[in-house]
Structure formats: structure tokens, C-alpha cells
């Protein structure tokens, strides 16, 4: 994990579920096939209803769909509200965000399986912030996360916000996922 994560913010609201992050109609693609894996990036967040896509204004596409080969987003930090990633257990959700280029999500809290998948699969870092960032950060703001200090700096608005400690899962995140972690701790050879 990098110590400093910088990127442009994409802001969504509460209860953004995995059907919004990657709709079921794209789940037939197999992430183990490289060409299909890319498509998860392309369709990341397409299920978010337009009014809530890129707050506060909405109607901001997460991935530019006009270029048919594009699978990357210009936003690499997602800011969410409460219960981010609720719904299904599909690992395709954090995978889709990672394929689109997301390095971190900062939400008030997470649905359990999304959080676990993000960590165990080593896709992105799911930070928690007690403040309601989805109402203060705006889509397009330039952000910097200082991991060791547990701080998020909003360079556009010149504000700093405290992040919750990563806690128990920090060693797995540092290892880059559960397989690496199990190897480091001798669980796996």
C-alpha cells in the first residue's frame, strides 16, 4: 500500500449497493479472462441512478462511455455515505472499481462483504470517516490521503478530515490481500 494516495473525488450518497457499482447484467464476464476483466472497469458505477451519480450535481459519468474502448475513470477516490457496498456478495464490485482505477473509497461505514472483499482481494483501501464527507466533498475535488497519519486532505477546499484507524485488517491490506497475508504469516506455503 502506498503511504500517500492522491486523486480526484467521485461522490455518491448512502446505501450504494453492489447492483449500482456493477449491475447484474455484466456479471457473466469472468475476471480471470483479461479482456473481460477490463469490462468491469468500463461498467463500474453505471447502475447509480443519474441524480446521485457524482454529487452534488449528479449526472457525472464515472467512466466516460463515449469512447468504446475506455475502461478507466478519471476519478480514483470514491467518497460514499452510509452502508457503502451493501447488497450482494459479488467481489466484482471492488474489482470493478479497482479496474476503473480507484485506489481508495472513503465512506461513513460499509456493508460487511464489500469491505471484506476489498481487503481480502487487495483491490482498494476502504477507509472510514466519521464525518459526512459525501456532503462536504464535491465530485472533482482534488484529494490526498495520508495513510500513516490517517488523514484526508481536500486540496480544492483546503480542509483536512480525520480517518478511522484501519484496525484488525491493516496487516492484510499492507500485505496486499489475504493470500499474501497468509503466506507472510506462515498459514500458506
Amino acid at each position: 500500500m502506498q503511504d500517500i494516495i492522491t486523486g480526484i473525488a467521485y461522490v455518491v450518497g448512502d446505501d450504494v449497493d453492489t447492483d449500482q457499482i456493477i449491475p447484474a447484467e455484466y456479471l457473466m464476464y469472468n475476471p480471470s479472462v483479461p479482456a473481460e476483466r477490463k469490462l468491469f472497469g468500463r461498467y463500474a458505477m453505471v447502475g447509480v441512478p443519474p441524480a446521485g451519480a457524482g454529487l452534488p450535481k449528479g449526472r457525472v459519468p464515472f467512466v466516460d462511455q463515449t469512447d468504446e474502448s475506455n475502461s478507466r475513470s478519471r476519478f480514483s477516490i470514491v467518497i460514499g455515505g452510509r452502508n457503502f457496498g451493501c447488497g450482494s456478495s459479488r467481489e466484482h464490485a471492488p474489482l470493478a472499481l479497482a479496474e476503473a482505477g480507484v485506489q481508495a473509497v472513503v465512506a461513513e461505514d460499509y456493508a460487511r462483504i464489500f469491505f471484506r472483499n476489498s481487503v481480502n482481494g487487495g483491490y482498494l483501501v476502504p477507509f472510514q470517516c466519521a464525518q459526512r464527507l459525501c456532503e462536504s466533498v464535491q465530485t472533482g475535488d482534488e484529494l490526498e490521503i495520508r495513510v500513516a497519519e490517517g488523514l484526508l486532505r481536500n486540496k480544492t477546499r483546503n480542509t483536512t478530515h480525520k480517518l478511522e484507524p484501519l484496525g484488525d485488517v491493516a496487516p492484510i491490506i499492507e500485505a496486499g490481500g489475504v493470500f499474501e497475508y497468509a503466506k507472510r504469516t506462515g498459514m500458506l506455503k
Binding site: D19, P23, E25, N30, S32, E91, G177, F179
Partner: protein, 466 residues
């Protein structure tokens, strides 16, 4: 101090005398289940991490049940089934339920006779039917509704592909011991309610994140009065409250079912201690509860069905692991018998066993007599459109999926989720309700309290009990 069922199961599987909420433990997994949506990705990670020639930890403990994208012409969906077949063959996996009619070209024509195919349909219905669910065990599945199996007194939860691949190779996973929330239901289930109303009441009270990281324990004489299938509706939707698992006490109904079905006999019942400690305790009196709906677009957006009578509906849907069981079908058929639906109504059996039972039984859940209508025929006669067993429109799926909401319409459904786009169109409005409320609403074309139709207890016979 005592332990909850969940704590005891996790302690045993971690080789410890006791565990406490918040503790992280490595546990041995009894069964790992995967399906056609997450199986191929899981297999990919397994091969990458353990090497292409690697063997799974125990082929008899891996259960593979394709169910999501079966009845579609989509070639990639067919390819995924083939990926599962190849893996099953290479690994010697015994418990694989092949959609033998999927041959890889165009829309497959469904099984002819549901009792003559290896194919099962929805994994969470198939798991207990095929004897893979036992009290006291740990079941992990690459599907969030794996928590359904907790109704039979086991610890069951959904995991992602990476976790599943790890289990495939090692038989182990790490789990954080959840604190338990206790839900006590007093009284006896009245004829106009089903477990769906109970779980919607729970989610409405605590919210879609009210049980995040926690276990939901359902108990009391009200739960004892439910059929095993209805208990599965309760635990099925534990995830809709954010829960890690849902669990019910084991009683005679559970034991009879498991004994007649289990593929192994080395299991042990685990009971809740009287002095177990809880995160919180919530109580309801079944006699005071009303039929509920969850309005768009969240399972916790609940209201009494009678308060939503002004909501005009365009479609009704009966199916899924939540509301596609044989008792759900009996509930629906007993209201629709001799009547006609007012709006297009789609019916999808949760498994091929449910489908076969719908052909075999009458609306009272008994073997039908000569000349008597089966449940299937009753629903057909009422104007329902009948589909083959699968997840179908519960999760939208490919555009050619049976019953999928391809337009922004209002649908009342026995399924479990109504987040935007869940059943297809992002602007479609899905109302979640019990099979009785869905049936009553199908008859009127607007959200309808089933008390308008249900006057006496609905017999379900022996259906779904063995």
C-alpha cells in the same frame, strides 16, 4: 457466561473452548458452495494462487449449483457453465447440479420433466434439499443469501471469490466473531402473515445496516410455529439488514428434514445458552403485526400493505430463494384458485423439486387426486405466466431473462431486494412483500392487504417438510 449458537459453532470450528464477539478466528469450513456467476472467477483465482494442477481441499465438501444465468441465449453465460463442468470433472466433485439442457447454442429449452434432471435451480433452495445443510456446521457460499441455511441451525454466510478460492485450497477462512442481536416473536403465526412480514418488520425497525457485522438470532414460540421453509425466508433476508448470518433454533421440524436428507451423519446440534449475551434484544407480538411491504428502493422502506392501496401495479413476481419455495407457491395458489390475475404475474419455482411438487400437489399441499388441479395448473388457470426454475428476474440478469423489468414499471415481488435496478430497469419500482400480499395484489392490480382474501388458515400439508 454462556454463548450463542453462532459463537459456539465458530469456537468449535476454531478448536477453541470459547470465543467472544470481535475476536478474529481461523475456522475450518464444512461446505463451500459456488454458482455460475462467481464460480468461474473463484476457479480463476484458485488456479492462479495454488497452481493449475492443484486439487481442492476436499472434493466432497465443494458444492456447485448453477442457477443465475441459465435461461438466456448469452454465449458467455453458457461458457461459464462449461467452465464449471470442466472444473468439476478435473477435481472429481460429486455434488454438481448440471443444467444438462444447456448445450451452448441460443436460448436453451428447459428441462422437460423437473424430476428427471440433475439441474436444481436456486442454490439456497437446493442446498438443504440436496442434504448439504446441517445444524452446527459452517457453510460458506459465494452468494450473499448463503445466510438462508442458518434456519437449520448452522453458521452460513456469503463470501467473495478470493475468500472462496482460499477455502477451496485450504478448507479454512478467517472470521470475525459477530455480536448477536436477538429477535423474539411471541404468539402464533396468523393466517394472513408469513415470515416475509416478520423479516420486513425487523429490517424496517433496525434499517438495512442495522445488523452490519452482527448475527441475527430468531427465536420464540412464534418462530417455532413457522414451517422450516418460512424460517428460511427469515434467515434469507438477514443480509438485507447487513447481517453476517441469521440463525434459528433446531427443533423436531429441523431434525426430521435434515435426517431424511443429509449426505453425511457426522453433525451435532448446537443450542443457544440461556445466559448468552446479546448486542440487543427486540420483541414482537405476532398477533399485533400487519402485512407489510418494502417500497422502492430499499428493503427498510417499509409500510403496512393497507396504507399503500393507492399504489397501482404493473406486474407481480413470485419466485427466488426468498419467495419461490413450495409453501410460498401454496400461499399464492390458494388465493388465486378460481380467480384471475389483473396484472401480468410471473411465477418461477425456486428449484426443480419445487417445480415437481407444484405439478404433483394440490393447493392444500396434498397429493392431487385424479381430475383435481395441481398448484401449477391452478396458477396457470388464474392467468400466471409460468417459468422454469432459476434466479430469473430476481436479479435482473441478461435482457432476455424471464420476467425481467425492462421498463420503468411498478412490480410487487416475493424476492428480497429492491435497490435501484435490481430487477432490471434502474427506474422500475419494486415493492417487496409476502407471497400472500403479492397474490392479493395480483388479483386487484394495486397493493392489497391479503386480509381482504384470507379468511381461514391456509393448509400446506406435508409440502416442503421432508
Amino acid at each position: 457466561m454462556g454463548m450463542t449458537i453462532t459463537e459456539k459453532i465458530l469456537a468449535r470450528h476454531a478448536g477453541k473452548a470459547r470465543v467472544a464477539p470481535g475476536e478474529n478466528v481461523w475456522v475450518n469450513v464444512d461446505i463451500l458452495m459456488t454458482h455460475d456467476v462467481c464460480g468461474p472467477g473463484t476457479i480463476g483465482i484458485f488456479n492462479e494462487q495454488f497452481g493449475a494442477g492443484a486439487k481442492v481441499w476436499d472434493p466432497d465438501r465443494v458444492v456447485i449449483i448453477p442457477d443465475h444465468y441459465i435461461f438466456t441465449a448469452d454465449a458467455i453465460c453458457h461458457r461459464n457453465i462449461q467452465t464449471l463442468r470442466d472444473f468439476v470433472k478435473a477435481q472429481g466433485i460429486r455434488y454438481y447440479y448440471d443444467p444438462d439442457f444447456v448445450k451452448g447454442d441460443g436460448m436453451p429449452s428447459p428441462y422437460r420433466d423437473p424430476s428427471q434432471t440433475r439441474y436444481k435451480g436456486v442454490c439456497h433452495k437446493a442446498l438443504p434439499e440436496e442434504g448439504h445443510v446441517r445444524p452446527g456446521e459452517i457453510l460458506l457460499g459465494t452468494d450473499s443469501h448463503t445466510c438462508t441455511a442458518g434456519a437449520l441451525g448452522q453458521f452460513a454466510t456469503g463470501v467473495g471469490n478470493t475468500d472462496a478460492a482460499f477455502v477451496l485450497g485450504t478448507g479454512k477462512t478467517w472470521l470475525k466473531v459477530p455480536a448477536t442481536m436477538k429477535f423474539v416473536f411471541h404468539g402464533h403465526i396468523p393466517p394472513y402473515l408469513s415470515a416475509k412480514d416478520l423479516i420486513l418488520a425487523v429490517i424496517g425497525r433496525i434499517s438495512v445496516s442495522g445488523a452490519t457485522y452482527r448475527s441475527l438470532y430468531f427465536t420464540g414460540e412464534g418462530i417455532a410455529s413457522l414451517t422450516l421453509e418460512d424460517r428460511m425466508t427469515l434467515t434469507n433476508m438477514a443480509i438485507e439488514a447487513g447481517g453476517k448470518n441469521g440463525v434459528c433454533d433446531v427443533d423436531e421440524k429441523t431434525l426430521r428434514y435434515v435426517r431424511s436428507r443429509s449426505t453425511r451423519d457426522d453433525w451435532e446440534v448446537v443450542e443457544e445458552d440461556d445466559d448468552a449475551s446479546y448486542h440487543s434484544v427486540h420483541e414482537w407480538d405476532l398477533g399485533a403485526m400487519e402485512p407489510l411491504v418494502a417500497k422502492p428502493h430499499s428493503p427498510d422502506n417499509t409500510a403496512a400493505a393497507r396504507e399503500c392501496a393507492d399504489v397501482k401495479l404493473d406486474r407481480a413476481y413470485v419466485g427466488s430463494c426468498t419467495g419461490g419455495k413450495i409453501t410460498d407457491m401454496i400461499f399464492v395458489a390458494s388465493l388465486l384458485a378460481g380467480r384471475e390475475v389483473k396484472i401480468p404475474t410471473f411465477v418461477v419455482p425456486g428449484s426443480t423439486e419445487v417445480h415437481a411438487d407444484m405439478l404433483r400437489l394440490n393447493v392444500r399441499g396434498q397429493e392431487k387426486a385424479a381430475g383435481e388441479k395441481s398448484i401449477w395448473e391452478t396458477l396457470e388457470a388464474a392467468g400466471c405466466q409460468m417459468g422454469a426454475s432459476s434466479c430469473a428476474a430476481c436479479l435482473g440478469g441478461p435482457k432476455d431473462t424471464f420476467g425481467r423489468l425492462n421498463e420503468p414499471i411498478n412490480c410487487i415481488s416475493t424476492t428480497n431486494r429492491n435497490f435501484p435496478g435490481r430487477m432490471g430497469h434502474k427506474q422500475a419500482g419494486v415493492f417487496l412483500a409476502s407471497p400472500l400480499t403479492v397474490a392479493a395484489s395480483a388479483l386487484t392490480g394495486h397493493v392489497t392487504d391479503p386480509r381482504e382474501f384470507v379468511t381461514k388458515p391456509i393448509a400446506t400439508g406435508e409440502a416442503g417438510t421432508v
